[in-house]
């Protein structure tokens, strides 16, 4: 069964890499900005997992995106993974639990295996 992942990543080259790392059954929609992400979530195809950068997301930073997504009732339960090159200890002020973030992955540590495990964990597999 196909899984639809929404990837919010401003760097096109990195987005290409992360899309490749996803399992074969995944359809990846890539956007660079918050508004584009909202448009995809609002679209016809249901989003099963959101993977978002937390820092370089154009005019909106990643925390704003989390806030936006969770402010809509329809998207309260969509699993969210955060990917970042900022060390997590620098982001202690962000309440990840409040936004229902299910995983925080350092970008430079991402491998295909880790990506697949994280997506599967979000889907309860």
């Amino acid at each position: 069964m196909s899984v639809h992942v929404l990837l919010i990543e401003p760097d096109i080259s990195l987005a290409d890499i992360y899309a490749r790392m996803m399992p074969k059954a995944v359809t990846c929609s890539h956007v660079r900005q918050a508004q584009e992400a909202i448009d995809v979530l609002d679209g016809e195809q249901t989003v099963d997992v959101v993977i978002t950068d937390i820092h370089r997301t154009g005019s909106n930073n990643g925390v704003e995106i989390l806030h936006e997504i969770r402010s809509y009732e329809d998207w309260l339960d969509v699993p969210i993974l955060v990917i970042s090159d900022i060390p997590p200890e620098r982001l202690n002020h962000v309440d990840w639990q409040r936004y229902g973030v299910q995983g925080f992955i350092r970008k430079h540590l991402l491998t295909p295996q880790l990506m697949q495990r994280q997506i599967n964990a979000c889907l309860g597999r």
């Binding site: 154009g58 005019s59 620098r90």
Partner: protein, 240 residues
């Protein structure tokens, strides 16, 4: 003899600066590590490799350029009289910077629009220092810009030459900018609540200062500009 405690404070600032520096170097490093991970796992077809090696090369060059710029800035602080200043054609330096950043700008769907006054007088400067000052700021702007076009301008200004980089993007407070100009360390950007080191501003500020120039940051709502003012060369001939 008791430890004064000053060393601990200096040490902590040093560690903070290194951590912040690590953050700024992280993007090209991340790219390199991610691509290597895919290569090791055999995720690329043979005919895809040239494209990805090209991207690898671009990011390795960006990393090298950031380190070179920082080293030059640090050396200029330690030995301010050692930077060799010669008559310099600003237009050719800016042309080189724009060419180097074209692949990055393209990947961010951004264009660098270069405009200059005809017959711009030469400045008394250093090629590498000017290249790194403008290059590091442009690199940051391309990644964070909300514009499709970043303007790179070079004009005469009161007997000197002014280089301006202009776009739309997140504004910073004067206090945040002042902190970034003077010290390579972590600053939390209030509007985003996220840490930033202002690496590019720090490098540019120190290099421009070592060329007897000045750096100015202007912001108005979501419009921002960074300008360098450089003294013109007293010599009429250019060494190309």
């Amino acid at each position: 003899m008791q430890l004064s405690g000053d060393g601990a404070q200096l040490g902590e600032r040093h560690v903070q600066a290194l951590r912040s520096l690590g953050m700024d170097l992280q993007l090209p490093l991340t790219y390199l590590q991610n691509v290597l991970s895919l290569l090791r796992a055999g995720y690329y077809q043979k005919d895809e490799l040239p494209h990805h090696f090209e991207s690898l090369n671009t990011n390795a060059q960006r990393l090298q350029s950031m380190l070179d710029g920082l080293l030059l800035a640090m050396n200029s602080l330690e030995h301010p009289d050692q930077l060799q200043l010669t008559p310099l054609n600003v237009s050719s330096v800016l042309h080189d910077v724009r060419q180097n950043l074209r692949p990055l700008a393209h990947s961010y769907h951004c264009e660098i629009d270069f405009q200059t006054t005809r017959s711009l007088v030469p400045v008394h400067a250093n090629y590498q220092a000017l290249k790194h000052s403008v290059g590091s700021l442009l690199d940051t702007m391309v990644q964070s810009s909300e514009s499709e076009v970043i303007e790179l301008l070079a004009h005469h200004q009161g007997g000197k030459v002014m280089i301006t980089l202009r776009d739309r993007g997140q504004s910073l407070s004067h206090a945040t900018i002042d902190s970034m100009l003077e010290r390579l360390g972590t600053t939390v950007i209030p509007s985003s609540h996220l840490p930033s080191s202002g690496f590019a501003l720090y490098v540019a500020h120190n290099l421009v200062r070592s060329m007897n120039g000045s750096l100015h940051v202007q912001q108005q709502k979501d419009r921002r500009a960074v300008s360098f003012v450089l003294p013109k060369s007293e010599q009429l001939s250019l060494i190309s």
